[in-house]
């Protein structure tokens, strides 16, 4: 058994910085995007100065977000391979939400929910970038046929919806699962937290420490 | 103009713009009214919408007008006489003429001089060396009573109608199709439609413009249409007529005021150099009646002439000095514009005044023009714009490749106001003098033309006064009564043209009564005298500025008859008549031919109606006076007598540059035998072997001549020079729409963008496939539109034999992709 009082490193400083960069850019992109998504949210454009500024900034913010996210993707790609156990885990969402951990398969570094979310983010980010470029005024839109642009705006809006939904789940999961936020702010978790939420990962980490 | 006067008596559009709405059939041929006269074209759409008119367009290109037509027929450029001659043949051989009209109102019954004949393309009296005719046999046979002989039964073999039948018998539908390239079916279809208007209550109107005048046989093209209209009984009728559409807003005014080199105002003529005797001059022009009881209005020539001389030289013009007849220049030859540049080119003309005119762009063969201008000592250009002519000496690369260091001509530019910057009248195609008011002051140092000319005159007069000279009298004695001598006002000039009484004028019927006090404005030219008691600057304009005020400024558009004869809108010469020869709208008994279009009629005492009668107002029908009052015989001329240079009947001659190289009617006489060609220009004609395509120049609705390349809006609408070719030719030459192409003639080349179109189709003529190349004219090296070549780099120097209007519509070119 390892020393329980010793904190375990879950995220390195560069990983944390990268995450928060994506997070901030996402918030900005989402606020800007939402303001153009529906009149309910148009007031959000004031955060950027005006509707016009929102229109100007949003594509740049989005592109930066995509590029930052590329970094995260590289870092976490390997950790997010879906396994048979993950599929089992997903099918028992009721047990997950009601914290009946004992009934669930053992969780590694990431649980299946986290993994799926990762892949959803990868997919939506790519779709957002491509569709966004297609109707980016005034730079690129004039070069594409109107039919394609019409599809692009729908794809963009749908992808954004899915992404935002995912992020809501992501944020709530972080709030709900105590100890997660400090993992991303401070970089470490307690051994108890690790053993509790990610026992598979905890075993691996402790093995490494022993050796 | 050179054809309408010999045919009807006056050289202008017979009807007027609004009247076109009354037509049943409208033919646009030799013009493109929708393109060049979009505002006037409204009356075509009115006729279609409200009169169920059939609209026909005949043109080498499917034009903007053709886009509106019920029936379009293509025609090879320059072959309109063949087409219309074929129509004459059709009407005569199918008996589709309005018999009573033709018999009574035309010279169909006139018996022609025995010596007259036509053979192998030549009329009697041809002098091959001089390229001109002795026209003494083109006259009528005179009877012992001193009047021309007629045969009212129309049986005499030499009566005009029979000679006409004989002349046009050669113009069979097959021959027409072979020459014009129009299919026989289309030609006959058009004949049939035109023939429907030979009945008294249906009319055709013809609308033409430069598409007829700019040919070496232009005047005769117009005359052929005039003959068609006479056979159909359509002259003088509302909704009929031959409508000459003038391109410039005031070009009708230009000819009315005698700005051509052989004219005085109101179509009075300058004497020739042999006419040194005043009385002989006057006698020759004072027409004697050729038939009994005719009005013979030109018998008033002395009144018009003397009043003009009184207007110019006032008290100095006296009966004793023949009203200053000696002051008038006597012409050795006509100094038309083509001759002017020929003389310049020969180094015989050293100074040139160019007022509101851009000859470098407007006349043929740019190279010859540039050479001519380069030989001048001085060139004065009076214009609102920096015209191409005023900058002919500037090098503009390929567009004007000259060497300024080699050109010694001193160019003086006097900036003038444009039409919107001064008051005055414009005379439209329909002969309406419409007053307009300045919209703004001219910019910078620009002055209006009156002021510029007055300044030059006063300075010149001062020089004559100080230094004398060979003959100072005409200058020193000229009347100059203007309040501000260096700036005569438009109103003063207008009043001068209208004329005034110099003495109290007595009533001719009761000499004890004074009808007009000394010094008052005349009511009309009916008051003019040949005894020096009236002055009138232009008899045709008399009535336009009377004691009642400026008639040209009237703006009452009420139209009680519904025929569009708004007698209280502006002033229409002559005498505010709207439709000329309107007596011919009634049958000989004085009843309108068409009860639904009653223009004028005899009410038992006088002529009255919706128009000012073009007739002696109190001459009852029983008197037998005929409607064409300007002619001494009182009738219109199917046979033009000796009034036309190349023959009394129009005959088809090929353009000087013909793509078929022959004339299928008479291969020995290909082109107009009486057209003047200067030495050196003949050699510059190209042959179909080197230049196989029929080139033709024209205007676009987006631009006005060479002016609007200086204005932003027009330049936005058509920014860059282009030429138009058909899809077939484009394919043959590997040219795609938007490619840069080079069009060359024997005189030079231009480069322009290619517009490839379905609207120009190859035609079959004389066994050959003829492709047209369309060359819009509007670009040049000055202005804000994209620089281009002056289109007249390509065109040949030969003019219509009567008017010397250059042959811009038919010439030969080659085309290749750059």
């Amino acid at each position: 058994m390892s020393d329980q009082s010793e904190p375990i490193v879950r995220y390195t400083a560069p990983e944390r910085a990268n995450h928060w960069m994506v997070a901030i850019l996402f918030i900005l992109a989402a606020l800007g995007g939402l303001s153009l998504f529906h009149p309910y949210f148009f007031w959000l454009s004031n955060l950027f100065g005006s509707g016009t500024w929102t229109r100007i900034l949003h594509p740049f913010i989005g592109t930066l977000m995509f590029l930052s996210f590329l970094g995260l993707t590289g870092r976490f790609w390997a950790h997010n391979r879906i396994t048979a156990a993950d599929r089992q885990w997903m099918s028992q969402m009721g047990d997950v939400l009601n914290k009946r951990r004992d009934r669930l398969p053992e969780v590694g570094r990431y649980n299946a929910g986290q993994k799926y979310l990762f892949w959803v983010m990868v997919a939506t980010m790519i779709l957002l970038l491509i569709s966004g470029i297609l109707f980016w005024q005034p730079w690129f839109a004039p070069y594409f046929p109107i039919g394609l642009i019409r599809v692009a705006v729908v794809v963009h809006a749908l992808s954004a919806f899915v992404l935002i939904m995912g992020i809501i789940v992501h944020i709530y999961a972080a709030i709900w699962t105590k100890g997660s936020i400090s993992a991303m702010t401070r970089g470490t978790v307690t051994a108890a937290w690790a053993k509790h939420h990610h026992p598979g990962w905890y075993r691996e980490v402790s093995k490494e420490v022993k050796q | 103009m050179a054809s309408l006067a010999p045919t009807f008596g006056r050289g202008a559009m017979t009807n007027h713009w609004v009247d076109i709405k009354n037509a049943n059939v409208i033919v646009v041929m030799g013009g493109n009214a929708a393109e060049a006269h979009p505002c006037g074209f409204k009356w075509v759409t009115e006729a279609k919408a409200h009169n169920k008119a059939t609209f026909i367009v005949i043109d080498p290109r499917f034009t903007r007008s053709a886009a509106m037509a019920d029936l379009y027929a293509p025609i090879r450029t320059g072959t309109d006489i063949a087409f219309l001659g074929g129509v004459i043949n059709y009407l005569l051989s199918h008996d589709k003429i309005q018999h009573e009209y033709v018999k009574t109102y035309t010279n169909a019954a006139l018996i022609v001089n025995e010596g007259y004949h036509f053979e192998d393309g030549l009329f009697s009296g041809y002098d091959e060396a001089g390229r001109k005719y002795d026209r003494s046999t083109w006259t009528c046979e005179m009877g012992p009573d001193g009047y021309a002989k007629t045969d009212e039964t129309l049986q005499h073999p030499r009566c005009v109608l029979n000679l006409m039948k004989q002349h046009y018998a050669r113009y069979t539908p097959e021959a027409v199709s072979n020459i014009t390239g129009t299919s026989k079916e289309q030609f006959l279809k058009i004949c049939e439609i035109l023939a429907t208007t030979s009945v008294p209550n249906r009319t055709t109107t013809f609308m033409y413009a430069l598409g007829w005048t700019q040919h070496s046989v232009g005047s005769q093209m117009i005359r052929t249409a005039a003959c068609v209209q006479l056979l159909l009984g359509n002259i003088g009728m509302p909704g009929g007529g031959i409508n000459a559409l003038r391109g410039h807003s005031n070009i009708q005014g230009l000819t009315d005021l005698g700005l051509l080199s052989n004219l005085l105002t109101g179509y009075l003529t300058l004497p020739g150099e042999k006419e040194t005797d005043y009385h002989a001059y006057i006698d020759k022009r004072t027409m004697k009646p050729l038939r009994p009881n005719q009005f013979n209005y030109w018998s008033n020539y002395p009144k018009f002439h003397v009043s003009l001389m009184k207007s110019w030289w006032g008290d100095k013009a006296t009966k004793e000095n023949n009203w200053c007849y000696d002051y008038l220049p006597k012409l050795d030859v006509e100094y038309d514009i083509l001759r002017q540049f020929e003389l310049m080119h020969q180094g015989k003309m050293n100074g040139y005044f160019c007022q509101g005119f851009n000859p470098l762009a407007a006349l043929p063969n740019k190279k010859k023009l540039t050479d001519g201008l380069s030989k001048l000592k001085f060139l004065v250009v009076i214009d609102p714009l920096a015209t191409d002519t005023s900058c002919f000496w500037e090098n503009h690369g390929e567009y004007n490749d000259v060497d300024p260091s080699k050109i010694m001509t001193e160019v003086i530019r006097l900036p003038s106001s444009c039409f919107a910057e001064l008051d005055g009248s414009l005379t439209n195609s329909g002969r309406w003098l419409q007053w307009h008011w300045a919209g703004q002051e001219p910019p910078g140092d620009a002055k209006n033309d009156n002021e510029i000319m007055a300044g030059i005159f006063i300075t010149l007069r001062e020089l004559y006064r100080k230094e004398g000279g060979a003959f100072p009298d005409p200058i020193l004695n000229l009347t100059w009564p203007y309040k501000i001598p260096h700036a005569p006002s438009p109103e003063e000039l207008a009043m001068e043209y209208n004329g005034k009484a110099l003495e109290d004028l007595a009533d001719p019927k009761d000499p004890t009564k004074v009808i007009l006090k000394k010094g008052l404005q005349l009511d009309g030219y009916g008051q003019l005298k040949d005894d020096g008691s009236t002055a009138c600057g232009c008899w045709l304009f008399s009535g336009s500025y009377t004691e009642k005020g400026n008639m040209m400024a009237r703006r009452d558009n009420s139209d009680p008859s519904g025929l569009g004869n708004t007698l209280n809108w502006a002033f229409s010469w002559p005498a505010n008549r709207r439709i000329m020869y309107n007596r011919a709208s009634c049958d000989p008994s004085g009843k309108p031919w068409d009860p639904n279009r009653r223009l004028i009629w005899w009410d038992g005492e006088k002529w009255t109606g919706a128009d000012v009668p073009d007739f002696k107002p109190d001459s009852p029908p029983s008197e037998g006076m005929n409607p064409f009052i300007m002619h001494p015989e009182g009738v219109a001329r199917l046979f033009a007598l000796d009034k036309m240079v190349e023959g009394p009947f129009p005959e088809h001659y090929e353009p000087f540059e013909t793509p078929i190289g022959t004339n299928p009617l008479h291969p020995k006489v290909v082109s107009n035998p009486a057209a003047r060609v200067f030495k050196g220009d003949m050699e510059q004609f190209g042959k179909a072997s080197a230049f196989p395509y029929a080139g033709t120049t024209y205007r676009l609705t987006e631009h006005f001549h060479y002016w609007t390349k200086h204005t932003e809006l027009s330049s936005i609408l058509q920014p860059q020079q282009f030429v138009e070719i058909g899809e077939e030719l484009a394919k043959e030459k590997g040219i795609k729409a938007g490619d840069m192409v080079k069009v060359s003639s024997n005189r030079g080349h231009i480069k322009a963008k290619a517009v490839v179109t379905k609207r120009i189709k190859p035609l079959q003529a004389d066994g050959k496939t003829i492709h047209h190349v369309g060359v819009p004219i509007h670009w040049g090296f000055k202005g804000i539109a994209k620089p281009g070549y002056l289109a007249n780099t390509l065109t040949p120097v030969v003019g219509d034999a009567n008017s010397q209007t250059p042959e811009f519509k038919s010439f030969l070119v080659n085309i290749e992709k750059v």
Binding site: Q4, S35, F37, H38, Y40, S45, S50, G51, T54, R55, L97, K99, F135, Q137, P138, I146, G147, R150, V151, A157, I168, Y172, I175, W176, T177, K178, G179, T190, A192 | A34, P38, F41, K42, T45, E46, A49, K52, F62, R64, S65, A67, M68, Y72, T701, L713, I716, L717, Q718, P719, Q720, F722, K736, A737, G738, D739, K753, A754, V755, T757, K758
Partner: protein, 287 residues
């Protein structure tokens, strides 16, 4: 330009009622293609009245110039050379905003008040509210609005709403020399069109008709076409235009539903937190 009156019936990106005190008659511009000679006087009148100038371009091998609509060209002539059963026809169509009763541009616009529709049917862009996103372009079934290169705002024909507001006809109507352009109440224009169609029928245009497409609930710019059965021969005039299904999906019910779903998701988290409580490592485990 703003029509300063209280008869706005629709306003882009606005979920509350628009000021609409006054009832005005529906107006329409009728373009009689069979009378149009393509003189471009309307293009000039448009540039002059609105005081905009396109650039002096180049010839691209056709009569059409400027070759397309732009921020400064709100109407252009489209020339089509077509072989029909009557032979060659040169069909010249004045292209520009159709002022749809159901305007796709307004539907797509995310900026409140950038596009408004007046009671008289005019659909107007208020460029001061425009953010330059170009969504209206995707919304338009006629491909009309153009983003200006100068200021990245979208421009199109206003139907001279400023002139119409004070009782004048649009500038293009005033300039048309042949009467191909007429303006009045939509009802009168339909009536006028009937007469024109009858004339065309008599001249052998069996399929002449009025173009007032129902797919956008009719338009306030209508055409009289010689061949109403083949609108596409008029330089690709849409046969049955309607707002694209993609735009309807995007701007229809989906958006409010999606917005609500996002809110519900957040709320669900909150409720879950309150009811189930946080997912904490239990004390005994920690120890």
């Amino acid at each position: 330009m703003a029509l300063q009156s209280l008869d706005v019936i629709r306003r882009s990106a606005t979920t509350t009622a628009s000021p609409h005190q006054r009832e005005t008659a529906e107006v329409a511009k009728l373009i009689d293609v069979s009378k149009c000679i393509g003189c471009k006087a309307c293009q000039v009148a448009c540039m002059e009245w609105n005081d905009v100038r396109d650039e002096i371009g180049t010839n691209v091998g056709v009569y059409d110039n400027p070759p397309d609509l732009s921020g400064a060209s709100w109407t252009v002539m489209r020339y089509s050379e077509v072989e029909t059963d009557r032979g060659l026809e040169w069909l010249i169509r004045k292209d520009g905003c159709m002022h749809c009763a159901d305007p796709g541009c307004l539907k797509a616009c995310p900026a409140p008040g950038a596009i408004i529709q007046y009671g008289n049917g005019i659909v107007d862009f208020h460029q001061e509210n425009c953010i330059g996103c170009g969504y209206c372009i995707t919304g338009c079934p006629f491909n009309i609005p153009r983003i200006s290169k100068k200021d990245s705002k979208v421009y199109k024909c206003t139907l001279c709403s400023d002139r119409v507001a004070v009782g004048l006809e649009p500038a293009c109507i005033k300039s048309c020399p042949t009467g191909a352009l007429v303006f009045g109440t939509k009802e009168d224009m339909k009536h006028h069109a009937e007469g024109r169609i009858k004339d065309l029928n008599e001249r052998g245009f069996k399929n002449a008709g009025l173009y007032d497409p129902p797919g956008v609930n009719g338009t306030h710019v209508m055409y009289v076409l010689q061949h109403a059965d083949k609108p596409e021969i008029y330089h690709g005039l849409a046969r049955n235009p309607s707002i694209s299904a993609w735009v309807s999906i995007w701007k229809g019910a989906t958006k409010p539903i999606a917005s609500w779903l996002l809110g519900i998701a957040a709320l669900a988290g909150f409720v879950h937190y309150i009811t189930v409580g946080p997912n904490e490592v239990e004390k005994e485990e920690k120890e």
